[in-house]
Amino acid sequence: MASMANVLGLIFANMHEANLPELTKGRAMASVPFGARYRLIDFPLSNMVNSGITQVGIITKQNYYSLMNHLGMGSEWDLARKTGGLHILPPYRSEGSGIYRGRLEALAGAAEFIRESDAEYVVMADANVIANMDLKPMVDFHEKSGADITCVYGRGVYNTERAMTKTVFSVDEDNKIYDVLARPAISGEMNVGLDVFVMKRRFLEDLIRESECRGLYSFETDILLHKLHDYKIMGYKYENYFEIIDNMKTYYKANADMMNRDICHEVFNLERPIYTKVRDVAPAKYGIDADVKGSLIADGCIIEGTVENSVLFRGVVVQKGAVVKNSIVMQDTVIEEKASFIDAISDRSVTLSKNRVITGSADYPIFISKGANV
């Protein structure tokens, strides 16, 4: 059995941003706020830490200021370590490297970091999946199966629009992947890749070198799809709760899922906590006439109005007579007196003035961008 101390974690901070343009305008996918007090990176990063991984590289491309600010030295994830720990890997790391086009080029930019780690295995993940995932069984599976590459997948029903952002696998009874579809225009029940991969470090290094020589840059198309029969590529089925954030609607749904008690207890399992940056704000304060039901509320909120079926991030203020329903309200947003915010998503630091009404619809929430004064 593999020792997780021998595993290097790599997280791709900027993958899938095209799916969520509104929220990734000024920030990396990995620092998109989620679940009232988290950022998307908290999930893969906490999963790695909870699985025993103590060295993690975060591969960034652009807009990574808010991510660096969030991660700091990594102490909240217990990754401020003398050996290993957290490393942010920006682009242009060496002469000749630059903005990557795909996962393989991104890895080439981090080749030195990968080579210098002493790890036997590498686990790669993106920041677009909400799940409390134990990675150890996947590494064990990889070791036991003798695979070159293990792809973690989940089973679910997807429409064409969502499937077109995914890698879809056909897996035989021995867990071997025998067919790969990259971004297919199909719908129905399918095995979708969760963009979590396990490889031996040496194998990955060779793969990076060879891909560089041949000008290959997409891991999904150039390796998984075109080299399916050259390598032993296995599928590991993830059976627990997961949600892939691939558009605004699923972002909204995944947030709402956290209000389901069973899902919430599974994702925020206190034995395997999801860590995040500590902001040192006081607990939430409820005033006279506060009426809050079925909602997820972070510290630092001040609520004097009505809140239903909503997610309130840190420091949100809901003034007297204001109504927030079926909405996601990000950090430091103020909903002033008698204003209504229904079926909507507000980015950070929005002010909704007195008596103003914002109403979206359940299947198409309205989005108010960062810092807007409505």
């Binding site: 102490s75 209000m259 008690r261 919430c264 006081a282 607990p283 039901k293």
Partner: protein, 401 residues
């Protein structure tokens, strides 16, 4: 090891039992008692130190130090995990001269002269872990320097009728203290010592040694060091403080100080970004309010799940209020569960308690005829209260009932 000189070192007296908190301090020292939804009392002096630019803090522990030690850890939550200075827990120790518990506040500092000396400071701030307040010690230190004082004592004007409970200073208009009386029956002034001192270290050091050598004397700042320095004509000045300051040494005052965080008229702003109170974070998801919950006038920390009714209460991290349970005018400390249909009124429930279904803790004063029998009910830490059990007002429960 080379120690970089520090201008000022803080020494925080955290070894007291806080016996007047009874069940709440049976298994933890008073400074570790939870306060204000996510804090422990010690967060206030520690955060004040950091916000005042003091980065070297000795925490003197003695009574039940486990919770406190674990809580302070390496000081990271307060930014006190620095390479030079930082927070140091200082328990009593055995030396070649023998072993000795801290026999008083002055003796505790005396036994740690070696610690302070390592930083060769000009000044030492002496603090206690008993009070809730925000204070900029650097301003007090500036005042100490301006006045060219040997000792500066922070004072607060208290109502005259309360003065006999405090150490009382008589001071000239320029702030110079000419008389000190510890808990005087007939106070001559209403300037109460807040238990916050700035000393010029060389002076304090000398008086600590003199006090220690005086075999008959007790070893206490209020009873010995301050009167002794006055008698020796050291320059002692009063530093006036007029912000929020609350001693939380009794059940009633702890309850009141918690209720103060709910009162918009009380000048203790925990949301003020310019003077944050830091605390160790419990790593829990945001709190959840159920479909039938009702929460008003309350403070609710992360990790709580509320399905019942909460009014005028403070809920700490991870508290669960089940359906039909009613919590009013109460403080529920971390990890406690109030089961279905239980009622908690005017009570303090300690950490990790379970209040069984239909149990009734405390009561409202308006329902009690004999007002003298009414008071806040207290359930100690880790206590299970069985279904339908009753704990009367003023009850002090430290074992399962």
């Amino acid at each position: 090891m080379n120690h970089i000189k520090k201008e000022c070192v803080a020494m925080l007296l955290a070894g007291g039992q806080g016996s007047r908190l009874y069940a709440l301090t049976q298994d933890m020292a008073k400074p570790a008692v939870p306060y204000g939804g996510k804090y422990r009392i010690i967060d206030f002096p520690l955060s004040n130190c950091v916000n005042s630019g003091i980065d070297t803090v000795g925490v003197l522990t003695q009574y039940q130090p486990l919770v406190l030690n674990e809580y302070i850890g390496n000081g990271q939550p307060w930014g006190l995990d620095t390479a030079h200075g930082g927070v140091h827990v200082l328990p009593p120790y055995e030396s070649a001269a023998g072993k000795a518990w801290y026999s008083g506040t002055a003796n505790a500092i005396y036994q740690n002269i070696g610690f302070v000396d390592r930083y060769n400071p000009e000044y030492v701030v002496i603090l206690s872990g008993d009070h809730i307040y925000k204070m900029d010690y650097s301003k007090m230190l500036d005042f100490h320097k301006e006045q060219n004082a040997d000792a500066t004592i922070a004072v607060l004007e208290v109502p005259w009728e309360e003065a006999p409970r405090f150490g009382i200073m008589s001071a000239n208009p320029d702030g110079t203290i000419y008389e000190f009386a510890e808990k005087p029956a007939e106070p001559k002034s209403n300037l109460a010592s807040m238990g916050i001192y700035v000393f010029t270290w060389s002076k304090l050091r000398k008086h600590l040694i003199d006090n220690e050598n005086d075999e008959g004397a007790t070893k206490d700042f209020g009873k010995n060091i301050i009167p002794m320095m006055l008698a020796n004509n050291e320059k002692m000045v009063a530093y006036h403080f007029d912000g929020y300051w609350k001693d939380v040494g009794t059940i009633d005052s702890l309850w009141e100080a918690n209720m103060d965080v709910l009162d918009p008229n009380v000048p203790l702003d925990l949301l003020d970004d310019s003077w944050k109170i830091y605390s160790r974070n419990p790593v829990m998801p945001p709190h959840y309010t159920g479909e039938n919950s009702k929460i008003e006038n309350s403070m609710v920390a992360e990790g709580c799940e509320i399905y019942g009714t909460v009014d005028f209460s403070v809920l700490f991290a991870g508290v669960v209020i089940e359906e039909g349970a009613v919590v009013t005018d109460s403080i529920i400390m971390p990890g406690s569960v109030i089961k279905k249909g239980a009622v908690v009124e005017y009570a303090i429930v300690g950490e990790n308690c379970v209040i069984g279904e239909g149990a009734h803790i405390g009561d409202r004063p308006e329902r009690i005829e004999d007002k003298s029998s009414w008071g806040v009910a207290v359930i100690g830490h880790n206590v299970n209260v069985s279904a339908n059990a009753v704990a009367a007002p003023k009850a002090m429960i430290s074992q399962d009932i």
